[in-house]
Amino acid sequence: MTTPFAITLGVGSSLANKTGSWRVERPVYVDRHPPCNNACPAGEATQGWLYQAEEGNYEAAWRLIMASNPLPAIMGRACFHPCESACNRVQIDEAVGINAVERFLGDRAIDEGWTVPVSAPPSGKRVLVVGSGPAGLAAAYHLVLLGHEVVVYEAAPQCGGMLRYGIPQYRLPRAVVDAEIDRIAAMGVRFEVERRVENVADAMQRGAFDAAFVGIGAQRGKHPDIPSGDAAKVLDAVSMLHGVEEGALPALGRRVVIYGGGDTAMDAARTAQRLGAAETILVYRRTRDQMPAHDEEVCDAALEGVQMRWLSTVSRADGGRLLIETMVLNDQGLAEGTGHFEELEADSLVLALGQDTDLTLFDGDVAVDTTRGVVHVDDHQMTGHAGLFCGGDAAAGPSAERTVTAAVGDGARAAAAIDAWLAGVTLAPTVIPPLASADRLNPWYYADASRTLRPRLEAARRRSNFDEVVGGLTAEDALFEARRCMSCGNCFECDNCYGVCPDNAVIKLGPGQRYEFNLDYCKGCGICATECPCGAIDMVPEHH
């Protein structure tokens, strides 16, 4: 054997020693379901589009939102972001400002004129969509993408449903609503306004539609029986907000009482403030904690000077004054009357006590179950009448969350179901991996970074106009905010497993390709799983 100078032994590599045989557990890469995705009623792949936004790929990020939700700029304003409530980053500092990033992407798309090409071949099927609110828009958008011919019938003079006639302009500027609806129209959806559907079965037959989606919302304010004198001015919040949008400003007087504790009550109260009410008082029968309104809305209302009277009910309305009964919580936490009354001066009373759906279009010979005023649908949003689907507030039970986002989700789900139904196939159920819970993270790796706040209009500047209250993020701030995402449960290629393995048993496959374990050498120590920042590695027992 000849060896170089001073080398006395032949050298072999330790690669001959397959230390993988020592292993009793093996690491496995997994993908978990991120809590933000899980919480999104519209079914957005939130973490996925944040991942694109982190790299500044705003268009790719926007397209990923558009795969489920056609209204990102509207969502970025009107959504109550359950994704942020579920965000694991809360355990480190504060939730990622997902909603603000979504708005940034939605606005960027409008500025840049991005649109979604329809590439599916025409199916030859015609689908009717009744109502152009968020549910109808989402259904129409997804149906047209699937190659169907879509016609939307809208009863009002303009499209948008509650987006236009319910949510006040200071929360959702109409230019944004117009832009996102126009984009859907440009994709080939035909909108016919001032076209009220009296009977859906007739409309389907007359228009030769193969299927229909009804998303007519809950447009009628509830009027409970409150004894009122002739001079009392009582109106409901939905009609009031609708009137404001059509330029028919209601004469509310100086002192306005809003009765109710939901988001619509907040919208009505904040609108009254902007219409010049000197005093707006919100009356609610239970406590602050029990108010169904979202906290952000309640805080903004209070900031804008809306006064709140909890544990109070309106017993009687007369011209210029209301009789208010004080309530108390009983042992079960329910509000009950105390028999103690007081008078409250008020020029008008606005009722915001919930909304009903006008169900007359289902009258006649259709097998649609509408018990308790709600359209009952199956898991695929289909009613008892074959080919007739329904979603949004009209199909949401009284306990369900009635939000824009939930309506979009219904519309999207219904579109997929309609497509399957038209093709005569059944939708395969989607398999959702287990949740990426916070306890699987290794939070040490995430750099400390508190949330970027969106600019807000000063309270003093909100009184006499409907200017948008919440501003948008700059590109730099949006990038920062997107990068606060921890990518819970899904590999984001941080190279940590590749670096921390004492046995070089992780193979880096290159950008976008992630990694692979080299089980010839992996001793199963588990450091990669412990040190994975986002919890995307499981250790599973070996069975020798």
């Binding site: 330790s14 995430y446 750099a447 670096g499 004492p502 120590c525 450091i527």
Partner: protein
Amino acid sequence: MLSERTPVRFYQVGSFAVGNRLVELERRSAQSDPRRANSLSSGHRACAGCGEALGARYALDAAMRATRGQLICVNSTGCLEVFSTPYPETSWRVAWLHSLFANAASVATGVAAGLRATGRDVVRVVAQGGDGGTADIGFGALSGMFERNDDVLFICYDNQGYMNTGVQRSSTTPGAARTATTQAVGPQPGNAFGQGKDVARLAMAHEIPYVATATVADLFDLESKVERAMSLHGARYLHVLVPCPLGWGTLSKDTIALARLAHETGIFPVFEAEYGEVTSSVPLRHRTAVEEYLRPQKRFAHLFDKSGAVTSPDVVARIQALADRNIRRYSLVPDEDQ
């Protein structure tokens, strides 16, 4: 130091994770590079979860990057030598030389002198060993290398004992730790307090150009220290804390977590010094009580009961006092008014 490494922009995992797709290529760690040297290759016989194997690859890959592969490595006897080179195999992918337990520093001195004499001093020299080959058996040779200011970086991978021979005490074994030769029996169980050596401070006392400490829990810090060391000439010393699942009685998956706790508790201060003066230290991100570091380690099990409650508060307080002294001495909590 930290402020130099903290990017102006925010990159999701900052510089804490090994790699980051959002960071420019040239600012990424040597370990994130798919073409890294892999100085210590697969197939070595270190225990599962070995901190020393990890630390050695981290340090030597960084040195290989800094010297563009122009590196000779001298190893003293110890775990690192035994598990990497059982005949006829070697795990080393660097020019590597082993002589005796005591003489790694002297051999490295000779290698550096030989390279200089033959006009090849572009080739740099690293000597490395465990705490036995550094603090105990090889200390005389090491002190001589420091004193002569020979052009060698000496790296000690400190796992706080003679681990591959059966976990005997070394002069870097901490107070109260149980080893085969310091059993957890008698009035003061485990290793005695007040003995042993702080080799980084001994190196500083030689006033050599560069002394630094690091752990396997902070890769960017370790790599930047190796790079800094390789940018200098003369005697340099790097002391890397490398947890040992076998000798410490810890789970193999927790090796990095323990190194992190050693830093975050103040038990192992991470700093650098030039010519005998401390020039920077890595502040604690989340200051942690020492018992969080001690509890997972079986060598400290006699300080706790089965439920994990402290049964020897005086001993834990004594260790906490040592950690607090480190925090003061190296300003590990910058805003704290000590």
